[in-house]
Symmetry: C2
DNA sequence: TACAAATACTCATTAGATAAGTATAATCTG
DNA sequence: CAGATTATACTTATCTAATGAGTATTTGTA
């Protein structure tokens, strides 16, 4: 039989849209497209969204019920299952591993963490700082042990160091701001 | 007939492997896999490489001739066509548009620019600095005009600013080093 | 004689992404 | 009341990217 695959990553973010209360796909798409929200970092087409939601459902993280309304076409509401809940929480707590994952995935985590409470935000940031500090040290070691006749490798490592330092500085700022900003 | 598509981007980098002298696919793959070279930023599987080379050939940027050798299996040498030459040079001179393109595409440009001469490197860096400075200003304007009730958008913009500033600092450093480092 | 190395591929599959279209009921507008 | 628009839910076809796995050929080497 075919090995089952499910290295879910960013699509787990979608679970955040049904966390507080069930939602239907069309609505999720609307919310995603609001340009000052997640849509800033994730432009997802409707067709793609449907595909991702199906995978999440197949994995048992979502369930759908059809709600026939009186005055409107019936909605296929999506609920988070217990398993989905667990997976989402774990996803939200985990720092990302690579610099390249910040632009989309970490920002998505942050977005949904803000919809929970302050502590969730604080913890996410702190864990990510920790992970990034370690990564930075590893880069520093690598950089120190570089033979000087490898100019390209040197440039690459320096680039990565720079990006990561900037990320850390930004994380510090996030931590400060989330400390004072009161969410709703 | 189907609209022809060819938004070539990073695959144009492959032309750099046949720039100085023709090469055969197997050799290109070897060179790509050298871990201190382009392989640092671009891990390309053999099957994928063949696919990309075919597209470049179909576009008229590469031509192949079979060189039957005396003692070895025949090599399918790939040459750069005049058109390929032109396209490659243009690619090499163009700065990248987005921050996310640095990790792979800009580093690849830099890699091949180093195989040309010092001036190519200097020009590439200077153009990229210029483009990035403009982008940074645009971000700054955006940031200044942000209503303060958009915390998420603010974070996103600040993140991008930070990354871009780090990139610019790194570019400055590259410029300095390429000034003194003599390439072979 | 068998195997390894150099060389060049192919195929099947999955995933990611997008454009475009279909369908249906309700509600709004002239 | 007709016709347009909106809300809602999908499907299909297509393309690209990526990967794993395998095949084929020629020669040199053990």
């Amino acid at each position: 039989m075919p090995a089952q695959k499910q290295p879910f990553t960013i699509e787990l973010a979608l679970l955040g849209f049904v966390r507080a209360k069930p939602a239907h796909p069309y609505e999720i798409h609307q919310r995603l497209c609001e340009s000052r929200a997640l849509g800033l970092v994730w432009q997802l087409k409707q067709a793609h969204l449907y595909a991702l939601l199906s995978r999440l459902e197949a994995a048992g993280y979502l369930e759908r019920t059809t709600e026939a309304q009186v005055n409107r076409p019936p909605r296929k509401m999506l609920h988070l299952t217990a398993q989905g809940q667990a997976v989402f929480t774990r996803w939200l707590d985990e720092p990302v591993a690579h610099g390249r994952d910040f632009r989309l995935e970490f920002l998505a985590k942050l977005f949904f963490a803000h919809q929970e409470d302050r502590q969730t935000v604080a913890e996410l940031i702190e864990r990510q700082r920790e992970a990034s500090r370690e990564r930075l040290q590893s880069l520093a070691r690598q950089s120190a042990s570089l033979p000087s006749d490898q100019p390209f490798e040197r440039l690459v490592v320096q680039f990565r160091q720079g990006q990561l330092e900037a990320t850390l500085a930004w994380l510090d700022q996030c931590a400060q701001e989330s400390g004072k900003a009161v969410k709703r």
